[in-house]
């Protein structure tokens, strides 16, 4: 039994005793103090509270000392809270004032940090007014009332009570504060003129339990994010207690707050405040009755707010647009020092979430990007900016090119290979979004959620231009980086995606791989690239060409057909027919190579056979491994047919291509 448990046992035994051994008490107390930063489990808290209230021998100082150590691990149960409250109200005439005050402080700390269910404490709301009569307790009681009051609690009777107390003890800051709060909820109950008082100074004397409770709150928050059954939504509410808001850094996404002008009686409809909803489901059920907070930007803080924005009405979205634009302009282009790096990153992150949620770009964000890209250094917030670029809106290709794509090209050419890859990846997603979402919406003639915007650009031409731009970038990148595999992979991914989407959506476009990609694949040391390129070539032959011919567009794509035949000729003559240099005029890559040059290859190898399956440097490692693993194959020479068998098992794409083209 460790020291902590002994200490708790000691306190349990104290219950009912009249006297206590001072030394033992202090040692146990110190033990508990040491454990306070970890917090106590719920039963332990209950035991300690029990001990606290039932031990009659505890003088005020010891009471306070013990109470200060009682810090929950996460939450405090109803039972403990109720016990303490009952004790307060039973003994508030007789118990020492210090103990009562510290008990109230503890309660305030629990509520401020959200460590207990407010409803339980609220049940005693009416009784707290009794505590106001005691001058020394009134500050703490006022604070507690201030925290717990909801608009429906305000009544003239209560106001009169407070006024009576003011008459008795004189005008104090804390009572004025309370009156102010009541007045803001229901001005008709407080017609007297109430001076405005700062909350912080009014309640300065109260609430010293902070450090440990803060830790408990952190523990609580860390835990709740793991709950997946119901999506718990946490709101960053403006508690009004932050001093010197104007001195510290400003939040780009302001905290949620409601500002009402005029009495509640005159408000039109009964609307629900957003803060009432803890799960996404309940929020969406009441979507039409929601009261929108005063700052539309504050809804960007979490997924529930984003949901409200996405399905909000036109005026809300307009407001958001204006504020979003000005905030972005101020934070990124005017580089206002009030915004920290993290704040800016946060804003961008939340905008990305909003756009992803709505599956639509926001025009003001696109305009902001257009202004920001020329000044961007390519490094700050790179991930977020790329994400935003995937959803960019525009009205014609020329505009897009001049304002956005030009800068992207510059960035591409001047950055490292990883950034090049992410740019190609980003453009990949961009084209995907255009095809899957924008064209889809156009076809169905529906508009997006945000301000019902429709895209006006001409579909096919724009798409073709954008794809051509990406192809040029790929080629340039591969040339500069000398066929780096990272880039090749991204480029191949783009072409695979394009082909797949064209097929699915039956678009009359044929995106063909440029020679840079094809021949980098043919000459690569990785069999996977070879396989992928073969697969794509086969698709062109078997799927794309027949489809387009069926649509009657054969004449439009003559160049592509030609190109494709050249590629196939090269592949077959290199891989299978063993005459790639003899037949070089029929292909693409070796065309026009002078004979003397070909002759010089004889120094190294037999040129015609260098790229065949049995000699291809991408496949040789597999052969070597096979020979190493199996002794029977040690000295065997592998010929073309053997390799075809291997390919049919491991690289079916190569196999299929060769079979298909041999017919």
């Amino acid at each position: 039994m460790n020291a902590k448990e002994t200490a708790i046992r000691y306190f349990k035994r104290l219950k009912g005793t009249k006297t206590c051994n001072r030394v033992e008490f202090t040692t146990c107390l110190n033990e508990l103090k040491g454990e306070a930063h970890n917090g106590f489990s719920e039963e332990e808290v209950e035991t300690l509270i029990d001990a606290l209230i039932s031990a009659e021998c505890l003088a005020s100082v010891r009471f306070q000392g013990l109470l200060e150590c009682i810090v929950p691990h996460k939450l405090v149960t109803h039972k403990a809270v109720l016990n303490l409250l009952q004790w307060i109200f039973t003994y508030f005439h007789t118990a020492p004032v210090g103990s009562l005050k510290s008990a109230l402080d503890w309660m305030i700390g629990l509520i401020e940090f959200g460590l207990t269910d407010e409803m339980v404490v609220h049940a005693f709301y009416h009784h707290f007014y009794l505590l106001l009569e005691n001058e020394r307790l009134s500050v703490a009681a006022c604070k507690l009332i201030h925290l717990l009051t909801t608009p429906s609690d305000v009544s003239r009777w209560r106001v009169k009570k407070i006024l009576k107390i003011e008459q008795k003890f004189g005008k104090r800051n804390h009572t004025t504060c309370l009156l102010c709060l009541f007045k803001s909820y229901k001005p008709e109950c407080v017609p007297e003129k109430v001076p405005a008082v700062n909350l912080h100074t009014a309640f300065k004397a109260v609430g010293k339990m902070n450090p440990f409770f803060q830790q408990a709150q952190l523990r609580l928050n860390a835990g709740s994010s793991e709950e997946t059954c119901a999506k718990m939504v946490k709101w960053n509410i403006d508690q009004g207690l932050k001093k010197t808001r104007t001195k510290t850094k400003v939040d780009a996404v302001p905290p949620l707050d409601y500002v009402y002008f005029g009495s509640k009686l005159y408000r039109a409809k009964e609307k629900h405040s957003i803060l009432e909803f803890k799960t996404l489901k309940s929020l969406s059920v009441h979507q039409l009755n929601l009261d929108i907070p005063c700052n539309s930007m504050s809804l960007l803080q979490n997924i529930a707010g984003i949901h409200v924005l996405a399905f909000g009405d036109r005026s809300l979205q307009s407001r958001l647009s204006f504020n979003l634009y000005y905030t972005l302009y101020r934070a990124f282009i005017e580089l206002d020092q009030d915004f920290s790096y993290r704040e800016r990153e946060n804003v961008l992150k939340q905008i990305v979430e909003l756009e992803e949620y709505m599956q639509q770009g926001i025009p003001v964000v696109s305009r902001f990007l257009a202004e920001y890209l020329p000044r961007w250094d390519g490094e700050d917030f790179r991930e977020m900016i790329f994400h935003l670029l995937q959803w960019i809106t525009f009205s014609s290709y020329l505009e897009l090119h001049d304002i956005i794509l030009d800068h992207i090209r510059n960035l591409f050419m001047t950055s490292s290979i990883e950034v090049k890859c992410s740019i190609i990846g980003m453009l990949n997603k961009f084209v995907e979004n255009l095809i899957c979402i924008c064209l889809f919406r156009k076809e169905k003639e529906i508009s997006g959620l945000f301000l019902e915007i429709r895209d006006e650009w001409s579909e096919l031409e724009t798409l073709q231009n954008i794809i051509k731009f990406v192809t040029d970038l790929c080629v340039a990148g591969l040339t500069v980086e000398q066929g780096s595999y990272l880039l090749l992979h991204e480029a191949l991914r783009f072409f695979e995606m394009a082909t797949c989407l064209e097929e699915e959506n039956k678009l009359p476009i044929w995106t063909m791989m440029p020679p840079a990609v094809v021949y980098n694949g043919l000459f690569s040391r990785s069999a996977c690239f070879l396989a992928r390129v073969c697969d794509l070539l086969l698709k062109y032959d078997m799927a794309q060409y027949p489809r387009l011919r069926a649509l009657g567009l054969r004449t439009k794509f003559l160049k592509e057909v030609n190109r494709q035949q050249l590629y196939i000729a090269d592949f077959m003559s290199s891989l299978w027919n063993q005459n790639c240099f003899d037949e070089k005029e029929r292909g693409y890559i070796f065309k026009g190579m002078p004979e003397s040059h070909v002759q010089s290859f004889f120094f190294y190898t037999i040129p015609n056979e260098a790229l065949t399956l049995k000699n291809h440097f991408a496949l040789v490692p597999y052969v070597f491994l096979m020979q190493k693993a199996c002794s029977a194959l040690q000295d065997a020479a592998f010929d073309q047919d053997d390799l075809m068998i291997i390919c049919s098992n491991y690289f079916p794409e190569i196999y299929n291509l060769i079979i298909h083209e041999s017919e």
Partner: protein, 355 residues
């Protein structure tokens, strides 16, 4: 964004005198008139660039029309840009409530030294500051503070702000949203910050500081040179520059006789045209710079123009402005308004196209 208008027509558009202020478009980046290759020219820019500014609002003529601007002349203002205000009502009841709320807000925000301070906030409509029928009425915000010092109550002005809209070409379509883009205020930095924070909270708007670019200051230079000077004696214009090698606080002031500026301007500007074009302004400014380099032997082209001060107008690039007469203030306000034009949030178009 406003569309380019016809240059030559001079019509009265409404009973409130309003002639088109500026013409926007894209400047021709090619200085040689000869080649015009279509492909290499930039077709699109994001922000429309000012091509022409109408300075001869002269059909309005006399100074009496500017009496309404009396409140604003002769004082130094800091200018802010405000996005459209949401849910702002012009009724007296609401104005009172806004005042009250702001008072409470200020008391909570501004603590430490002002424990005994009591604030009074007053929202009111300032008459006569509008120009066209699409302009919303201007709002005046007045904050007074009463401090207790040595047993006496000292009442002083803490913050004055005017939210003005002057020269709107069309109204905003939304209900309950009004557009008062230019905010002229005077008060300490802290006061301004607190008041603006509360405004942003109440009406869901953004209040940003308005920065003037070098180009804008060039325009002001030219416009001041254009004015008819009825003063006797030599009046001087003072141009303040900041240089990269000097620290931020050290700026160099150059005093230039106003007559020479006028002379330069007159020789460049075509008197018959109502509009001052960007090309003229550019040429004028270059000429001024060359002359200054020759006379003062300081290469001002390397520096940034920070402030222009003439007998009638003083303007800095963080936009602190002080105008002595109503007519000057009139066109300054028009100029400032154009810098804050409303963004169309619904079209996906990113930019302005060259026609």
């Amino acid at each position: 964004m406003s569309t380019p208008r016809s240059l030559t027509k001079r019509r009265r558009l409404s009973t409130k005198l309003h002639t088109p202020g500026s013409v926007f478009g894209i400047r021709n980046r090619n200085h040689d008139k000869a080649e015009q290759e279509n492909d290499s020219q930039v077709q699109y820019t994001v922000r429309p660039e000012r091509l022409y500014f109408n300075i001869h609002d002269s059909d309005s003529g006399s100074d009496e029309d500017y009496n309404d601007l009396e409140d604003l002349t002769g004082k130094t203002w800091k200018v802010f840009r405000v996005s459209p205000l949401h849910n702002f009502e012009y009724t007296t009841v609401r104005m009172k409530q806004y005042g009250q709320r702001m008072r409470e807000g200020l008391t909570t925000l501004l603590t430490d030294s002002t424990l005994d301070a009591h604030y009074e906030v007053n929202f009111s409509v300032a008459e006569g500051l509008t120009l066209t029928q699409n302009d919303s009425e201007a709002i005046k915000i007045l904050v007074n503070v009463t401090k207790r010092k040595n047993g006496e109550d000292l009442r002083s002005k803490y913050y004055i702000g005017f939210m003005v809209c002057r020269g709107a070409s069309k109204g905003l379509e939304e209900q309950f949203t009004i557009h008062l883009p230019v905010l002229l205020c005077s008060g300490t930095v802290r006061a301004a910050k607190s008041v603006h924070f509360l405004l942003q909270k109440f009406f869901d708007c953004s209040v940003n500081s308005y920065q003037l670019s070098q180009e804008d200051l060039m325009w002001f230079c030219a416009l001041q040179a254009d004015e008819k000077d009825t003063r006797k004696g030599m009046s001087q214009a003072e141009l303040m520059f900041s240089f990269p090698q000097l620290s931020v606080r050290n700026r160099i002031r150059f005093k230039v006789p106003l007559n020479s500026l006028k002379y330069l301007w007159d020789s460049i500007h075509d008197r018959n045209s109502e509009y001052a074009s960007f090309k003229e302004v550019e040429k004028f400014y270059e000429a001024v710079q060359q002359q200054m380099i020759r006379v003062f032997e300081v290469n001002v082209a390397k520096g940034q123009l920070v402030r222009i001060k003439t007998p009638t107008l003083s303007v800095t690039n963080e936009t602190k402005l002080r105008a002595k007469t109503g007519s000057v203030l009139n066109y300054v306000l028009k100029f400032l308004y154009e810098g804050t034009a409303v963004i169309d949030t619904t079209t996906p178009m990113l930019s302005v196209q060259r026609h």
